[in-house]
Amino acid sequence: MSRADFPIFNAHPELIYLDSAATTQKPQAVVDALSSFYSKSYATVHRGVYPMGERATELYEGARAYVAEFLGAKSADEVVFLRNATEALNLVAEAWGRPNLGPKDRIVTTIMEHHSNFLPWQRLARQTGAELVVLPVTGNGQLDMEAARRELQAGASVLAVTMVSNVLGTVNPIACLAAMAHAQGAVVVVDGAQAVAHRPVNVTQMEADFFVFSGHKAYAPTGIGVLWGRSELLAQMEPFLVGGEMVNSVSLKKTTFLDPPHRFEAGTPAVAEAIALKGALEYIKNIGFDSILGQEAALLELLLTGLGQIPGVSILGPEGHLREGLVSFLMDGVHPHDISGFLGEKGIAVRAGFHCAQPLHEALGIPATVRASIGIYNTEDDVRTFLRGLEDARALFTGERQWTTSTASR
């Protein structure tokens, strides 16, 4: 259905793309948004007193307003355009965290964080002397809520937590965590990288203080990411990067900065990418989360069932609990890299490795995993072909079958 909207499957009709948790393919509408902007309205923003410059500014600021609406934010001024979720998390850690944290503070995060929501806090903790508390997961791959309650009650200045784990697929109860964290006066930083393309997000309802995501995981171009922050917090923060486009006035003696969000957008921003991000979110909205949730849940079910039937496969993440359309797994005696390499040659794209979540793999005592993840363009056939390919990989690498020409070609 929506597969037809994605030109990549036109160029590669046989491609089975199950790596959407790493990055999503782009619908024609997004590719067109870029081409059309560059071909019809390109100019720099906030400056040109000529119609094309004004138009570009309107498009760029319009994209900001749309993102704000998409996230359920109160105001467009709470939306900062950056490169990716990683930059957004670094900005929060540096511009909000560094001046506000010291040796008495506790930074609470979880073992299931992506490196991008772990390393900025690990570094900050080391350099400020704050304590870094890492919440564990239960045997069922959920966040240990008992530990969360206990550790937050022991005092916390920040809770940095992912909305959806990119390895376990676990969907965390953000509103509940935020309530516990706020009771201690902590600031709640939510990593929404794995969420925005797959389930409705409302930053106001979940009572986050900061929320970040990357465009490229939500059908938008590379080079664009979003930081949403509560306006009271953004207003108190010093700039992160300094330079053109974010100043009020500059002189040798005294420099003053613009209000948020522009205070945090130094230099010429990723204008075209922001505009195309709006295109991508409109694409998602048009399909609708009802339909996306339904379709992705059905494929997830098929995937989990199929994987459960392959001998030697063990699946990570929660059973019988809300989870995202992504599954990481291990196969006895076959290295994840070999699985993904073998499938890759058959035109099936899945990911092998730590998925930028080494602490989680270390805690679970597993070396690396294979991850299959679902996007809006996947079909039941995709999942079935993937499962068949996996059977072949198993037979081959465990030595059950010999490598022949017919094994290798699809």
Partner: protein, 140 residues
């Protein structure tokens, strides 16, 4: 169609009626658009009844920022601060009458912004209370 407004803007710009400084203003307020170098001072004489007795501007800037300041002075004179509290952004833009893109909007609204801030400060300064709703400084 815009032409009549443009002519009017040019007229206010080239022949301002209210440019200059007041001798002893009850309030002088300044703001600028650093990105384009518009800079305006607004002098107000507000009497005890809260009526703007006199109003003048000086500074530098483009035709739109200067004409807007001149027009605004014209409108403000003789008005009470509660009348002026009701005068909003849209009224200012209507006064200018030509469509303004996002960048020139700042020029067109600079004097307006300064007036609003001046009135808030006046309200706070005279009776020491928080400004009431109609007098909140406009958000940028």
């Amino acid at each position: 169609m815009d032409d009549i407004y443009r002519q009017q803007i040019m007229d206010h710009y080239q022949h301002p009626r209210h440019q200059g400084e007041l001798q002893n203003p009850t309030r002088r307020e300044h703001d600028s658009n650093p990105l384009c170098g518009d800079s305006i001072y607004l002098d107000l004489n507000i009497d005890d009844e809260g009526t703007v007795q006199d109003c003048r501007f000086h500074g530098e800037g483009c035709s739109i920022s200067q004409a807007a300041a001149d027009m605004l002075c014209h409108v403000s004179r003789g008005k009470s601060i509660s009348d002026l509290a009701a005068f909003d952004k849209d009224d200012m833009l209507k006064l200018l009458g030509i469509p303004l893109g996002p960048v020139r909007l700042k020029c067109g609204l600079l004097a307006y912004k300064i007036l609003k801030v001046a009135l808030v400060k006046h309200a706070m300064g005279t009776d020491g209370v928080e400004p009431h709703d109609g007098l909140k400084p406009p958000s940028q």
